[in-house]
């Protein structure tokens, strides 16, 4: 038990949970500042998304020869979830040596605190896109399954926890080795094409099982499937859970060993 009390990763996790008010408020504040001096504020993201997703819908439904109505909800939901995931992945390398470095050097909040601040900012951004999916799903299908009420929060929670672990792990590596940032930034655009966001898994025909090699499949699926009434796929939940456990282990090992070094790397 004494070992657990002295584990720096656990201490920081407990500290961050206790201080949820601070990082939640700060990320809300970051969001507010982001939209300062714009006329439409947060609606810009919604409008921008609506424009590009609608344009893509007409293009791709023609190319894939699909019913555009059904495809519209599929594309909207996938695209919006993808925006969240790709944004958090791209933000992850800079979490410590970006803006947070001057805070880490000036005040004894644990580095994990700034991971949570960044991740909750991205969660808040995603949250004000969710209504858009629901509106589109309702307008096209004229119904929304009630199980969205519990499956959506659970799915978002799983992605949120994974975003924290991922950001902390990648943030530490990239604070030490600055090559990680360009690597991640160049990987994300092709990942959009390799993940079932724009296309449906069944279009792959006999290659369908290859989608499970891509970790992003699980996190897009875990939120999307129930949201737009696709069939329940147990593989997606098992995969997401396995990745969560894997990341948890890496996080605890890495963070307890190297947490105190982060300040020297940035």
């Amino acid at each position: 038990m004494n070992f657990l009390k002295k584990n720096i990763a656990l201490i920081d996790v407990v500290f961050s949970i206790k201080n949820y008010y601070s990082w939640l408020y700060l990320s809300y504040f970051d969001l507010k500042l982001k939209y300062r001096r714009t006329f439409l504020g947060p609606w810009w993201v919604v409008i921008g998304m609506a424009i590009s997703a609608t344009a893509m819908c007409f293009l791709w439904s023609t190319i894939f020869n699909l019913d555009w109505k059904e495809y519209l909800t599929y594309l909207y939901s996938g695209f919006i979830i993808w925006m969240w995931i790709s944004q958090l992945v791209v933000d992850a390398p800079e979490v410590f040596y970006g803006e947070a470095q001057k805070y880490i050097k000036a005040y004894p909040n644990p580095p994990l605190f700034y991971v949570l601040r960044k991740c909750s900012l991205n969660l808040l951004l995603f949250l004000h896109h969710v209504p858009l999916i629901l509106v589109v799903a309702y307008a096209v299908n004229k119904k929304i399954e009630l199980n969205v009420l519990y499956s959506l929060p659970i799915g978002m929670f799983v992605v949120f926890v994974n975003s924290i672990l991922f950001t902390a792990i990648v943030g530490m590596f990239s604070a030490r080795y600055r090559d990680i940032e360009p690597l991640v930034k160049s990987l994300m655009p092709p990942m959009l094409l390799l993940t079932p966001v724009l296309w449906k898994p069944e279009m792959l025909g006999s290659y369908i099982n290859y989608i499970y090699l891509n970790p992003f499949t699980y996190f897009v699926g875990i939120i999307r499937n129930d949201l737009i009434g696709l069939d329940f796929d147990i593989n997606i939940w098992i995969g997401a859970l396995a990745i969560t456990i894997f990341q948890l282990i890496i996080f605890f090992i890495l963070y307890s060993k190297k947490r105190n070094r982060i300040i020297f790397w940035i």
Binding site: S22, F29, K105, A106, Y107, N109, I263
Partner: protein
């Protein structure tokens, strides 16, 4: 609760990473080289600067400690170690009591936010709740003397005005163990007098004060103990007057 700080055999080393050692390519080439040569990667890896060496002391409730030393002697490093920003490379550190950290008082400011927002923002970064900050807001506003400028974004402020705001915000933190780096040299005459009075008041209320400064007269009146640092080591620890004499000797040699 009685405050207490104990440091035992504290060493703090800073690894300095050259731009080369930050990259993967270098790591990989050095790995392949080391397979053929006997040179260890440490020989060409990061340099190490010894920030603090063999620091031992115990501070008890009521101690007011002056930190003296030339630039680069480790004063701010020691303060940051005590606050928990740095962890020692080796040695034992015990802290009892709440710590208010006034090392970088501009901590948590955002240039696009207004003065009012920055007061809230900085308070929340320090772990306060919004309702607590709103309680002390009138005092901060009054003390800063910035009036209607508080409705404008921070980036429109002059550096003196920014310092005023930063200082007014920082003094709102709760007393306890107070770690303070010298900073109230900015601001106009009226403000530096006012801030000095306020600092004296705060220092009085603190349970332990550790104060790094070059203002010898001020230190003499405030502190009952002093630490002289030189090259990261304690070169003198004891009575303030004698420490100041010791400190002056650095320059007379």
């Amino acid at each position: 609760m009685k405050s207490k700080i104990l440091l035992e055999n504290i060493y703090l080393d800073f690894p300095i990473y050259e731009s080369e050692s930050f990259s993967f390519r270098n790591k990989i080439t050095s790995m392949s080289k080391s397979a053929f040569s006997r040179m260890s990667s440490e020989d060409k890896g990061s340099k190490v600067v010894h920030g603090l060496k063999d620091i031992n002391f115990t501070f008890n409730h009521g101690d007011k400690i002056a930190l003296l030393g030339p630039n680069g002697s480790g004063k701010t490093t020691l303060l940051k170690l005590l606050s928990g920003i740095y962890s020692p490379t080796s040695g034992k550190i015990v802290r009892e009591g709440d710590i208010s950290c006034m090392i970088d008082i501009g901590f948590g400011f955002q240039s696009d936010a207004t003065g009012y927002e920055n007061i809230i923002y900085a308070g929340i970064s320090r772990g306060l709740r919004k309702k607590d900050i709103e309680k002390i807001m009138p005092e901060i506003v009054d003390f800063s003397g910035l009036g209607e400028f508080l409705d404008m974004p921070l980036r429109t402020y002059s550096s003196g005005m920014q310092a005023r705001l930063a200082f007014s915000t920082a003094i709102a933190s709760a007393p306890g163990i107070l770690l303070m780096d010298e900073f109230f040299s900015t601001g106009d005459l009226e403000f530096s007098k006012k801030s000095k009075d306020k600092v004296l008041e705060m220092m009085d209320a603190s349970s332990i004060l550790i104060f790094a400064s070059h203002d010898l007269e001020l230190l003499k009146t405030l502190c009952n103990k002093a630490i002289c640092l030189k090259h990261g080591q304690i070169s003198y620890y004891g009575n303030t007057e004698e420490a100041i004499d010791h400190y002056k000797e650095f320059y007379e040699k």
